[in-house]
């Protein structure tokens, strides 16, 4: 067993599951989407992104690309949240919540691709 693979797989899958947890629920109902979940998803995605740095293989480059996409979407979602609550000083409304959740949904797809890559890479391993 390779500890590096365990940690790598852990973060990639955790990034996906956390994101899924945030995404789940009615799209415009802010009671069902907790900001803590979004924060956790952002942090774990960031860690996963850094772990993918420096791998020069083709599959490594694709991994990095999926992480970059997920990061971009999640940061956009966080920014939308911050804009509504802290800068507009308004309460969370249905439109903004829908925007945030759909952005995180996009990130979820990127995370899923990352997991698929991870799984397919593992299955290719014949050793």
């Amino acid at each position: 067993m390779n500890l590096e693979k365990v940690i790598f797989g852990f973060f990639v899958i955790l990034a996906c599951t956390l994101n899924f947890g945030f995404f789940l629920g009615e799209i415009d109902n802010h009671v069902l989407h907790h900001p803590g979940h979004l924060f956790a998803a952002v942090v774990i995605n960031l860690v996963a992104l850094v772990m993918k740095f420096g791998d020069r293989t083709h599959i490594g480059a694709t991994h990095l690309a999926t992480s970059l996409v997920a990061m971009l979407q999640l940061l956009a979602a966080s920014f939308a949240w911050m804009w509504q609550v802290n800068i507009n000083q308004a309460v969370m409304n249905a439109e903004t919540m829908a925007t945030i959740v759909s952005l995180s949904g996009g990130a979820l797809i990127a995370n899923l691709i990352s997991v698929i890559l991870l799984v397919s890479e593992t299955l290719r391993q014949t050793r």
Partner: protein
Amino acid sequence: MNEVLFVILRRLRRPLIILIIAYAISVWGLVLIPGLDREGNVVHLGFFHALYIISYTATTIGFGEIPYEFTDAQRAWTIVCIYSCVVSWAYALGSIFHLSQDQTFRNVAARKRFAKRVAAMQEPFVLIVGYGQSGIMLARMLDRIGLRMVIVELRQERAAIIEIGEFEHTPLFLSADGRLPDVLVDAGVTHRKCVAMIALAGDDDTNQSVAIGGTVLNPSVRIIARVHTQIAQANLDSFKSISLINPFVAFANNIALDLGSPEKLRIIEWLSGLPGGIRPDSLNLPKGHWVICGTGDFAHYVSQALEKAGVTWSIVENYNGQINRGSLDMHQCNAIDDLLEAGIERAVGLIACTDSDSVNLATVTRARSVNASLYVVFRQANVANASLIDASMAPLRFLKSEVVSHRIRQLLTSPLLIRFLRHVDEDAEDLAQRTGKLLEAQVGEKVPFMWVFDCYTAYAGLREALAADVDPPLSIGDLLINPENPPERLNAVPLLLLRKMKETPLPAQSTQLLPGDQILFAGQLEAEELQKRFFLEPSPLEYIRTGIEPPRSWLFRNLFKKSLNSKDTTI
């Protein structure tokens, strides 16, 4: 992706992850721990505020407690945050600084920067592999004529000299092994502005692999390699684009020429000197018995040259264990007895050619104590010892780097001259004598300037003159008329006519010119300036040939044509 970026990313993976985790835990903690507002209600910090607080706390900026004063529980957690985040930052910054000092990283970065700057070269440049004595001398010479250079040298401290050297344009340099093809590519051997690659490394093996590597990577680039041994010469001879320079052979050839046909050598030396300088005198090597002190390739080539010239010679080796080979009369030690045995008393000349300047000096002194009238040929091993060698008062001195750099300069700047000199060397003595007479009449005692006149129809001045139906056809003699004052002639000698790979040394003035011809001229600098006018516009050539200054503008050309036509009709 960029290599440097890769190295940075890989090295910074751990510090970045630690930093992210420290921030995440700190922010999370601040969000979870309840705070109190001014009225004493329980409020929680949002992620936005928490991140803001941690950002200024972790970087030790410290703006204070917002939006309300912290509770003690929050302060306790902030202590944890401060220590964990500041330590993580210190670790991350330390890793970055460590990386910037790291030799591997610096080499990768330097290599990348070098490759980028070479790729951005806009001017023609020469790639020099090997920066030893010859390399230094050549670089200085090429810098003076304004050629840009890229230098690759294996030894780090040698490469560092380039940075402090006095150059008009500091050459780009890299300390790397030129035998590796990727180094050659980075150094620009495949660059479209690369004029030539010159292999000047210390040993023949390296030069061989550099030259072959270069020609394989870019078959169209000109390659000049210095070799010393016959085996390397034979190996490289089969490549078309590689020109070889064997300084030992060149020098030995000169000795043979001086003893055999001094007029040829006089012309060769005259034409290959620095333009504008004084004409070098002939060597006037005495004929008779010669003693060679030294071993190795140089002694071998020199002895062959003496053999060819038909003079007697003997070799004194200065180490033990050599066996007598055929006519080679070898001796074991460099003591005075051996010199006597080699016939130093009856000898007319001495060639001191060991690899050490001090041994050579000792030999010369010892030999002179026996026979003071010796003609001494000195092989100088190190450029820095020039003053020592001056003290030996040797009339002829061989300095490898000098021979090499002069020859390379000729190959780069006037390849046609090399062809002409080959004719002088190989053809009958008559050619050298005729050249000598012409040069004496036209340029006198000075070393002439050399230039090539290209008969390209693309030149505005030549388009009409080179057309097929022009009468009289343009001849070489026309190019020697002074465009400012037609009765006068330019002080220049046409040395060589190159027409479709066919070389004609000393072409006659009546030779008709065809498009594509190249003519090598030797003469005074003013003559070159005047002759250049023939390229630019048709009127000088027209004027000297017909005596009529042709009209230049469209209006006057048409008027001129009309007046010609009307003249024809009246006649």
